[in-house]
């Protein structure tokens, strides 16, 4: 096994020939059929595919919530065993993911508490991340009192507070309206550029993938899904879909699903 040495360009997350079957030996569905994927430190990777192609299953395997039926998933050169705070999952349904009986501030404090940081450091960290996601003046509100976009920003703050190495995002903005979603894209890119946290982002929205990703991994429709095409996006951010080069890329990806 090759040890992870943290160098630029060396895979932080390596997935080799991962298969995932649901069901038992006699009756099963093949969800993933041979996934290979490498994610470098600091990279923004989008997994793009139609509904039911197993994107979320793959993300759950990366997070350690589920095991692969066969194949290997290595993080920093060591096999992934269970969930850990170096790989934080970010959910679409913030209402379910957050602790609704805690205020904005207390939700971040929960993360610090389970991270076992000394209490003296909490206020400064809470301030830092709530300011970063622009929720500092809403710190005493409960999640139910926030808009959908604000809830997602709180979820980002809570995730960042444990300083994860990878942020796994499962169609995070899929439930937001188009305008809020655009704002969240700009916001996420800003955070990503500031923290250089590696991001694996699942989506079925081609425009979203083209706007955000360093690399788009296109997954074939399930069952038995695999990554059929990997496209590097060498366009400066912020990107404009009206830019002909972005438009071309969009059409190329779109053609794969035609």
């Amino acid at each position: 096994m090759v040890g992870y040495d943290g160098e630029e360009g060396v895979a932080l997350l390596a997935v080799r020939n991962v298969r995932k079957l649901f069901g038992d030996d006699t009756q099963h569905d093949v969800a993933l059929d041979g996934i290979d994927l490498e994610v470098a430190q600091g990279e923004f990777v989008c997994l793009l595919g139609p509904s039911g192609c197993g994107k979320s299953t793959l993300l759950n395997i990366l997070a350690g919530f589920e095991g692969a039926t066969s194949g290997a998933v290595d993080f920093e050169g060591a096999p992934v065993r269970g969930a850990g705070k170096d790989r934080v999952m970010f959910f679409q349904d913030a209402g379910a993911a957050l602790l609704p009986w805690l205020t904005v501030e207390e939700n971040v404090r929960f993360a610090l508490r389970v991270r076992k940081l000394p209490k003296a450091e909490w206020p400064a960290i809470i301030d830092k991340y709530l300011t970063m996601v622009d929720l500092a003046e809403h710190r005493h509100k409960f999640p139910a009192q926030l808009s959908g976009g604000m809830r997602q920003r709180l979820q980002i703050a809570r995730a960042l507070a444990v300083e994860p190495k990878v942020l796994l995002m499962d169609e995070p903005f899929g439930a937001l309206d188009a305008l809020t979603r655009r704002r969240m894209h700009a916001f996420l890119l800003d955070i990503w550029q500031r923290t250089r946290t590696t991001i694996v982002f699942v989506t079925h929205d081609i425009a979203e993938a083209v706007t955000l990703a360093d690399r788009i991994c296109v997954m074939s429709p399930g069952p038995g899904s695999r990554i059929t095409e990997v496209m590097r996006v060498d366009l400066a951010r912020p990107r404009d879909l009206a830019d002909p080069r972005a438009g071309q890329l969009f059409k190329r990806v779109e053609a794969l699903f035609a």
Binding site: A63, G64, F65, A83, G84, K85, R87, V88, M89, F91, D93, G95, A96, A97, L98, L99, P100, W101, L102, F110, A111, V114, R115, K116, F142, P143, A144, Q155, R158, A159, V162, P164
Partner: protein
């Protein structure tokens, strides 16, 4: 303000209907009119008779309800959290829960006599299954996303259980307790009618034997007021202490 007025209006209409039924439809013996009931209640209150019965019934409900809730919450959490326990016990619970406290009175009297223990047992019995089923449901429905989110922040299994699962189940548990409390106030009566020498149910039974419809009405009204007051107190306590766990239910 509006709610208070409507509440008062509702009482006025009920009193008028009561008086009407008493005077014109039936007769004042079958349905003693409001004033007669009040005149009957006054000396019973003054002598403390009514309060003695109330205190005894309340103590029975209190002991049975608290122990029933405690046992049901502990077992309900296990049932909701441990698949094997659930699969082993669920079929039995699904059968036993149809035995109402009233159905258990005859055997309870044989087991525990007509003293306090049999009443505690019957209220315990009624409370237990209602709270158990609600607790189990609440624990099982603690959103998996919420648990996973806590897990990847680094929470241990114990932290997830105490800080995520139990608070998520709180609205279910509290709802179960509220239903169980109402049911306790209902089941204490047959228990006392059939096997007791004190309590509101005993007062009902004794008055019935003596054909004292006015005293029966005093007892019936007392039950209404008791149930209502304790339900309100329960709601106020929950609002005071647990509102942050209750108010978000619409969100998830």
């Amino acid at each position: 303000m509006r709610a208070t007025l409507l509440f008062a209006g509702s009482l006025v209409i009920a009193l008028a209907a009561w008086q009407f039924l008493s005077s014109f439809v039936f007769n004042p013996f079958l349905i003693p009119p409001p004033l007669v009931v009040l005149q009957t209640a006054a000396p019973m209150a003054k002598s403390g008779e009514i309060f003695r019965h109330v205190a005894i019934s309340l103590a029975r409900v209190g002991v049975g309800f608290v122990t029933g809730c405690a046992a049901a919450i502990v077992l309900g959490v296990l049932l909701g959290r441990i698949q094997l326990v659930n699969e082993l016990l669920d079929p039995i619970i699904e059968l036993l829960r149809f035995l109402s406290p009233t159905a258990m009175i005859p055997i309870a009297v044989i087991w525990f006599g007509i003293g306090e223990t049999s009443k505690y047992f019957l209220i315990f019995w009624g409370t237990f299954f209602i709270v158990l089923i609600n607790t189990t449901a609440g624990v099982m429905r603690a959103p998996i996303i919420r648990q996973r989110a806590a897990q990847c922040l680094g929470a241990s299994a114990l932290q997830i259980f105490l800080m995520v699962v139990i608070p998520s189940a709180a609205p279910y548990i509290v709802t179960g307790m509220r239903i169980a409390m109402a049911s306790s106030f209902m089941s204490i009566i047959p228990a006392e009618i059939l096997a007791a020498d004190s309590g509101i149910g005993f007062l009902l039974q004794q008055s019935s034997v003596l054909l004292q419809t006015n005293r029966i009405f005093v007892a019936l009204l007392t039950i209404c007021v008791l149930g209502f007051v304790f339900d309100r107190l329960f709601r106020i306590a929950v609002d005071r202490m647990l509102s942050r766990y209750m108010s978000y239910v619409a969100l998830t």
